[in-house]
């Protein structure tokens, strides 16, 4: 019975006389009001519960149907995932943060030779007792601690007495709140691939060694060519200066021209192997474009005229004359292209066009075109044209062979330019290339051609020449005498030093490779002696060829300049002049 009702009953029972009744009535009424309010609330709660019961039970029924559907879907999904896991052709495993296995797939279990339930909860070393760690467990630990994936971990492992290579990708696993709860590892057996890779590597090494040997062979044989070439050209020069009748002079001309052609070929080969070996040195300096083109014109116009071909050079007016670039290499490219054009054109002529493609304040891009009316190039040959030693088949009997174009291609690449050809068979070709140049603010004074007068500049001066090759001795001494020098010749470095001590010379020219004592040693010894006399005599190296890095060797030995063999009287003279300037600076 509710407390309030008990209270009212008690009140009524305790009524003993009518005087107490009025006071009791108020208390009873108050209590009855409270009962009424409580009853109202209870009644509401009851009705409310009934109403809510219907709604909530409906909601719960529907929700449980929903949940059933969700759980069914999850089951299907789980089965699909498990099928994927089992059948995936890779070793898959999940580990917890302590690096114990949570789950592995069938392939992995087969790898271990254990059933799946014997793997879970255990560590790698418990599963593979003979596993020799190469930092793999540390890598796994890092994936957990840094929360970052680690891909393509390659490792050689041993199991069942077999050595296998595996490649593994690791990724951290996070719970929905983003906390790392473990990692997943997927490994593939890459033993076969590794095998192929090492074979491939060996084959590549062999191929590279072969190429290197070939390049070295070409370089050294070309190098060997240069000494006799130097002889032929030098002696021809001497011969030219002796009295010859017309037919003898003609024959000599033929010898010189053939030797020059051969020299071009040898130089190409040398350049080619230098480029291949990354040893070609570029020389960027200010030059005048017109001078380069004049050289080209003089060199090729004669040949063109012999074939009754027109030869002309057209420079657009907006092309600046004063540029900074490697003029030597530019000349080489143009001569190569234009030389080919002359060679393969029988009728018509050759034109060289130069225009400005782009320009900024300090840099320009020029396009050079060599246009001929020659035999043209078939479409299918164009692509391979710039490859090494390409041949264009003209007819059954004649093959056109050349290394020149591939050198042009390599040189334009080195100089950040492009090269190409447009051609129609039988109608002629246009070979073009583009090159960037820096602009110079300074105007270069065009150098006058060295005249006879200048040749006499060194009259009364003494030069010491150390050179072991007799032919070269003759050539050098002839050229030096022509410009007025008094020449002392010796065969080796030792003798050179003795002569140096006995006499007073204005200049010393040293071959690098000599018996007894080489050129470097001589130069060093001279500089040591000069440390006392505080003098600095110009010393020039005579070298078979200048490769990248050689220059540093000469300078380190204390030399002031060098001349590559074979050389023309002009290059020898300019090397002497240059060395005099450097030496005079050293004296200061």
């Amino acid at each position: 019975m509710p407390k309030n009702l008990q209270y009212i009953i008690d009140e009524l029972r305790n009524l003993r006389n009518p005087e107490e009744f009025l006071a009791a009535r108020d208390r009873i009424l108050e209590e009855l009001t409270r009962v009424d309010s409580d009853f109202e609330k209870l009644n509401f709660k009851y009705e409310r519960s009934n109403k809510e019961k219907n709604i909530l039970s409906s909601l719960l029924t529907r929700t449980s149907a929903d949940l059933k559907k969700v759980s069914d879907n999850l089951k299907i999904r789980a089965e699909e995932l498990s099928t994927i896991l089992i059948t995936i052709p890779a070793y898959v495993y999940f580990k917890d943060v302590n690096l114990n296995y949570i789950l592995v797939n069938q392939s992995y279990a087969e790898l271990t030779g254990l059933p799946v339930d014997k793997i879970t909860g255990r560590s790698l070393l418990e599963i593979f007792p003979h596993y020799k760690s190469t930092g793999y467990l540390e890598t796994e630990q890092k994936v957990i601690s840094l929360g970052k994936e680690n891909y393509n971990i390659e490792e050689e492992i041993e199991f069942n007495g077999q050595t296998r290579w595996v490649n593994t990708n690791l990724a951290p696993i996070r719970n929905p709140a983003g906390h790392i709860i473990g990692l997943i590892g997927i490994s593939w057996d890459i033993t076969e691939r590794k095998h192929y890779e090492s074979e491939l590597k060996r084959a590549k090494e062999l191929a590279e060694a072969g190429t290197m040997a070939k390049n070295e062979f070409i370089a050294s044989i070309s190098h060997e060519f240069r000494t006799p070439m130097n002889g032929i050209l030098g002696l021809s020069e001497i011969l030219k200066n002796t009295p010859l009748d017309e037919s003898q002079a003609d024959l000599l001309k033929g010898i010189v021209s053939s030797a020059e052609n051969l020299l071009v070929l040898v130089n190409d080969l040398l350049d080619f192997s230098a480029i291949e070996a990354g040893k070609l040195e570029l020389d960027f300096h200010p030059f005048i474009l017109d001078r380069v083109l004049e050289d080209v014109f003089q060199m090729l116009n004669m040949k063109a005229r012999e074939k009754f071909l027109d030869f002309s050079v057209l420079i657009s007016e907006d092309v600046p004359k004063h540029l900074i670039g490697d003029s030597q290499r530019l000349r080489q490219i143009i001569i190569n292209l234009a030389g080919n054009a002359v060679k393969f054109t029988e009728k018509g002529g050759i034109e060289i066009h130069i225009h400005l493609l782009k320009s900024t304040v300090d840099r320009i891009m020029l396009r050079f075109e060599v246009i001929d009316t020659g035999i043209g190039i078939p479409q299918e040959a164009k692509e391979s044209l710039f490859k090494v030693f390409s041949r264009v088949k003209q007819n059954k009997s004649k093959l056109i062979v050349g290394s020149g174009l591939s050198i042009c291609k390599k040189l334009t690449d080195l100089l950040s330019g492009e090269i190409g050809v447009e051609s129609e068979k039988g109608k002629g070709s246009t070979f073009w290339f583009t090159l960037p140049f820096d602009l110079t603010g300074i105007k270069i004074q065009p150098k006058e051609k060295t005249g006879e007068a200048e040749f006499k500049l060194y009259t009364g001066k003494r030069v010491l020449v150390a050179e072991d090759n007799l032919i070269n001795q003759k050539i050098v001494s002839f050229q030096l005498k022509r410009i007025g020098f008094e020449v002392d010749l010796v065969d080796n470095g030792q003798l050179a030093l003795e002569k140096y001590d006995e006499n007073c010379y204005d200049i010393v020219i040293l071959d690098i490779q000599m018996p007894v004592m080489d050129g470097y040693e001589v130069a060093k010894a001279i500089r040591r002696k000069e440390a006392i006399t505080r003098n600095h005599i110009p010393v020039i190296a005579l070298t078979a060829n200048a490769m990248k890095g050689d220059k540093e060797l000469y300078l380190a030995a204390g030399m002031d300049g060098y001349v590559s063999k074979p050389f023309t009287p002009e290059t020898l003279l300019s090397a002497i002049q240059q060395a005099e300037i450097i030496a005079s600076r050293s004296r200061i």
Binding site: S37, N54, I55, L56, S58, L59, D66, L67
Partner: protein
């Protein structure tokens, strides 16, 4: 500020009570009236206008008043708070929402608010069963700033769901907003919002919605889903919709409740008191029972600790709470009186607006939104 409060069940009774309360020379300059739609609201406006007083009025779904003369929780009556405010520290205005969306209505109101005071506190009640309370709040915030102080709710109509009203001393609007703005340099205004509703059932996705109208849930017509899951009859809607709102999960694991205020039977759509975004993850929700009273008590006690002094308390309590708690609703309102023993006026709403402590203002359903006004 000075406050006098009274309740009545007719316009006549209202006029008498007003005059009686003014007989001692008390000169109110503003009034707050929450009234049943059964009462002649125009009659109240006309009377107040004659008194030269500004009126902040709203129709209700039940109203209540606690003061030193007693506690009143009624339906079909009215409650009034006569205010004598500092001159220049308050202003009132009413804005029509006809032909414009709730956001634009909010912006228009917001523009007036920022022109009125540098540091304004806003009291806003909006009428109209299709009004999107959330967009109204966003519109005001768009002009007045996210951190503006704002309290209020959506007007009711005794659960008829026909037409709700806001009214001033000179107009009555079934589709508008009434705003009272107070100068925060003169008054201190704080409040809380608490609900207690919990999520029930599996997650569902809102698959087609526009603003506060939801067309499909899990690709099924929204009205069908609602009726099927709650096993309710057509005629129970929209009333039952206020009690069983959708709970919208937010990315930060918080949630917001959105009550159904109207239905479009032809399009099988549900019209909510606030925005329900397309793609939102929702569940049904319900009050877990009478224990929500306990959680309200705790919140009220906590609020009292930080805000022990007040001149007037206004409570915007969701009508769904009244439905769910029935006569026990008094237990959670009693707690307010027991703490402050200062006049408390309020009504059962179709939606609430408020800043919870110092957080920015939001639009709610199912809440107990209490605000305290104190002159500094």
């Amino acid at each position: 500020m000075q406050v006098k409060t009274f309740s009545s069940d007719s316009v006549k009774g209202f006029m008498q009570a007003w005059d009686k309360n003014s007989s001692d020379g008390f000169k109110p300059n503003a009034a707050i009236v929450f009234s049943s739609v059964d009462i002649d609201l125009n009659g109240i406006s006309t009377f107040i206008k004659k008194k030269g007083v500004r009126l902040f009025g709203s129709s209700s779904c039940g109203e209540f008043l606690y003061n030193s003369s007693g506690k009143v929780i009624t339906e079909g009556g009215l409650v009034c708070s006569m205010l004598q405010l500092e001159p220049g520290s308050y202003d009132l205005n009413m804005f029509s929402g006809k032909g414009i969306d709730s956001f634009s209505l909010g912006r228009t109101a917001g523009e007036w608010v920022v022109k009125t005071f540098k540091k304004p506190a806003i009291f806003v009640v909006a009428s109209g069963l299709n009004t999107d309370g959330e967009q109204l709040v966003r519109g005001i915030q768009d002009v007045a700033g996210d951190d503006v102080t704002m309290f209020g709710g959506l007007a009711g109509d005794d659960a008829h769901f026909n037409e709700t009203y806001v009214f001033s001393e000179s107009a009555l609007d079934p589709q508008g907003a009434i705003i009272m703005v107070l100068d925060l340099s003169v008054y201190e205004i704080n409040g809380i919002s608490t609900s207690g509703w919990v999520s029930i059932g599996a997650d569902k996705i809102i698959t087609r919605a526009e603003g506060n109208i939801v067309y499909t849930i899990d690709n099924q017509p929204a009205l069908d889903v609602y009726k099927m899951y709650l096993n309710v009859r057509d005629e129970d809607l929209p009333e039952i919709g206020v009690e069983y709102p959708l709970l919208i999960r937010k990315q930060d694991e918080s949630f917001v409740l959105r009550a159904v205020l109207n239905v479009d039977r032809e399009k099988k759509a549900l019209i909510f008191a606030g925005t329900v975004p397309n793609g939102a993850v929702v569940t049904f929700s319900s009050s877990p029972g009478f224990e929500i009273i306990e959680s309200t008590r705790k919140e009220v006690n906590e609020f009292y600790k930080y805000n022990p002094n007040t001149d007037l308390l206004i409570l915007f309590s969701c009508m769904a709470r009244h439905n769910a708690l029935g006569p026990t609703i008094s237990e959670e309102i009693d707690e307010v009186w027991e703490k402050w023993s200062k006049p408390l006026i309020g009504f059962f709403t179709y939606g609430e607006i408020g800043n919870n402590y110092k957080a920015s203002c939001d639009f709610y359903n199912q809440t107990f939104t209490l605000v305290s006004i104190k002159q500094k």
